[in-house]
């Protein structure tokens, strides 16, 4: 089976979700609203919502690493 979320990324995303307070809920358009516990399940299942959330996390980490994020904030 093709893995949709790389194992290392999945670990990071699940760990990051542990740091988010339980009263936070992610609203993501017509996909719905998800508690952190629900997000963990979606990431584990690697379904559409899980992949989308992992992609947001990955893009943010890339922007932090390549300086794009701090460059944008310095404008």
């Amino acid at each position: 089976m093709n893995q949709k979320i790389a194992e290392e990324l999945k670990k990071i995303v699940l760990w990051r979700l542990e740091t988010i307070p339980p009263h936070f809920k992610l609203s993501v358009g017509n996909k719905g609203s998800f508690t952190t516990e629900e997000l963990k399940e979606h990431v584990e299942k690697e379904d559409e919502v899980g992949v989308m959330f992992a992609t947001i996390q990955l893009n943010f980490m890339k922007a932090l690493a390549n300086g794009e994020f701090s460059k944008a904030l310095a404008k």
């Binding site: 809920k25 992610l26 993501v28």
Partner: protein
């Protein structure tokens, strides 16, 4: 200036957008903007199309769910009908200034809608935000959601003030950056980095398509 605003309200996301849209309507009414409000039961494609044809608004403000090819309207009996869809009625966007506070519509629909003339401001990815489950029944008291929704309101307010599309998008970015910097100053606070991440995602997803110098005439 004439404007149309769509106001769905049937789930968490649309309930938040509905409440935040009130600030835009109040501003418009106080500043001489004729604003047509499409909410249930008038939030339908036929009403939107006839309003555009008859009233000829310069500005279209969509609060909605969306995808790459569609901006949706109301949800009735488990069915969400479309308001604007690529290759169905996207020509209603032509020549107008549009802001779609909706997921992904700038990825394809927006491009096609303003191919000949006009300007479309929207998101190429899902427009996402965190909400505080303790405030879900009082969206305007939700300080977490405010981090994401106020920048989008600032964008729409800029358009209502007659700013250009480019200036309004810049306003969104400045407002989002301000919130990110505020979050970074307390980055050890639980949830701060998760909020910064989504603000960044929304900033990256925002696109101005077509004529960036376009403004809704006062």
């Amino acid at each position: 200036m004439k404007a149309i605003i769509t106001l769905p309200n049937y789930d968490d996301a649309t309930a938040y957008l509905y409440c935040y849209a009130e600030e835009l309507i109040t501003f418009a009414q106080k500043n001489g903007v004729s604003i047509i409000q499409l909410r249930r039961p008038r939030l339908r494609r036929d009403v939107l199309e006839s309003s555009i044809l008859e009233q000829k608004p310069e500005l279209l403000l969509f609060n909605a769910h969306g995808d790459e090819k569609t901006i949706y309207g109301d949800k009735i009996a488990h069915h969400t009908d479309y308001l604007i869809r690529e290759d169905k009625n996207h020509e209603f966007l032509e020549g107008r200034l549009t802001y779609a506070r909706a997921c992904s519509a700038a990825a394809s629909l927006g491009k096609k809608g303003v191919m000949k003339s006009g300007c479309f401001i929207g998101y190429t990815q899902p427009f996402s935000f965190w909400i505080d489950t303790n405030r879900i029944t009082t969206p305007l008291k939700d300080k977490i959601a405010q981090l994401f929704l106020q920048p989008s309101n600032d964008l729409a307010l800029s358009l209502l003030k007659g700013k250009t599309a480019g200036e309004a998008a810049n306003c969104f970015n400045i407002s989002s950056q301000k919130n990110i910097l505020q979050l970074l100053s307390k980055k050890d606070e639980p949830g701060a980095m998760a909020c910064a991440m989504l603000l960044w995602n929304n900033m990256e997803a925002l696109e101005v398509l077509g004529n960036e110098e376009m403004r809704a005439v006062k």
